[in-house]
Point group: C2
Chain length 248, copies 2
Amino acid sequence: MLPLTDATVLQDVRCDGVGPIGIFYRNQTFIEQCSLPLRHHTTMSISDRKIKEKEALRDLILQAARRLFVAKGIEQTTIRNIADAVDYSVGTVYVYFKDKTDILHALHSEGFTELGNQFKVLFAVADPMERLRAMGRIYIHFALENPDMYDLMFTLKAPMDYLEDEKNADWNEGKSTFSALKTTVQDCINAGHFKNHQLEPLSFMIWSLVHGMCSLHNSQRSKGVHLENPDSIVEQGYAAFLQIMEIL
Amino acid sequence: MLPLTDATVLQDVRCDGVGPIGIFYRNQTFIEQCSLPLRHHTTMSISDRKIKEKEALRDLILQAARRLFVAKGIEQTTIRNIADAVDYSVGTVYVYFKDKTDILHALHSEGFTELGNQFKVLFAVADPMERLRAMGRIYIHFALENPDMYDLMFTLKAPMDYLEDEKNADWNEGKSTFSALKTTVQDCINAGHFKNHQLEPLSFMIWSLVHGMCSLHNSQRSKGVHLENPDSIVEQGYAAFLQIMEIL
DNA sequence: CCTTAAAATGAACATTGTTCAAAAATAAAA
DNA sequence: TTTTATTTTTGAACAATGTTCATTTTAAGG
């Protein structure tokens, strides 16, 4: 029997990464599994409303953090800035997020959801090679349009540190995104392309190529390379890759 | 005529990125250009010694910083840590480096020197395609063996911020490294390879491919991709690239 | 020895992430 | 309604960080 009033236990559960303290109220089945009788068997509408309010505030904080990150950079954004932006105190932020890393990880996940949504149009592309090309284009476009989110997703180590703290915590976001790429590459192989190539190494190579261009671009490393429009070197580099892919 | 005793001017010059205050003493020609008579026309050996001592201490601080960065991470290393490591006070560190960014930029440059040294063996490789392949191998090896230095050189924005502060400050380290790659690619083109490809986009593509693999590996993003030895996916990815290059 | 400039110091400051006892707000019970 | 219990919010306090600068220490030159 879990002592619900024990602050230490609550803290532990909260730090478990499942979510903030509200897990006890949000995840009804979990409560029942623990055979904890609900104190009041009334309408449940009140606690439902509270759950929604909690989630709304969590999201409010998250979106404020995101706006500030984009506006002034991740490092330059303080918890106090975020608290001010949502008109709550610092302490409140720490009720909804264990620490700054927790916020970074949550936004990192949000980024993968958005990239995944953008990938959905790929279902409409029948030809696997064309689908692969389009996938790269979407990826690059996302990375250049959302450099901060991209950093969170593929460069910064903070969101990965968050995973370290929890048991059995895999990088599922990355895994499933890479799976989407692998599936498309496999389709290309099935269609007769990429002869004598292995699925994983080839997919990783393609991912690296596209990621590398975005990474160099977003970290200002392609500046010294091309004097003209710095975005164009990425386009041209990707065009060079497509030209090579044509014959594979 | 520059008022040498004016602390503000000294500060300005020092912040100019040319080096610490010692520039006035280190760069003899500069002093002469300003037609500032040397105070003492004696042996010059004493001031020479002081110059060497200053440079030695600067390097002592730099290497201590590097050791700490490697040992406990860049963010986790404080100026106090560095000062303790060299048995000097915090203030002394700030005499030799404008701020932490200055240290990061100095180490970033050091990294390029080292990578450049490792590239020197490439002069011995006659075949341009083999030289290109070897170049990639050296690059990858350097990146995986010195992940912190690599981050400084190609990912972190701090060393680039340092350049922003100064006029006419290009990223020469990156430029010349990319030039080395371009030269080799041009040699390959001259030898009949990479038909119908443009030098810059193709070179950028190759750089991105190799950088992307190192970046994903060093930022732990290749973990969820390959369950076995995480280094091996980089090797296999590079092998896939080499296989493609064979036919170009 | 004395003078003077360079080098080194470390206390002090502003800002950061984070905590936690207390207060305020809200819901339940009487 | 009043009282009690619980949840939610607060913001002062803490430790750690990068950075500054008036002061002290060191040492060279006369």
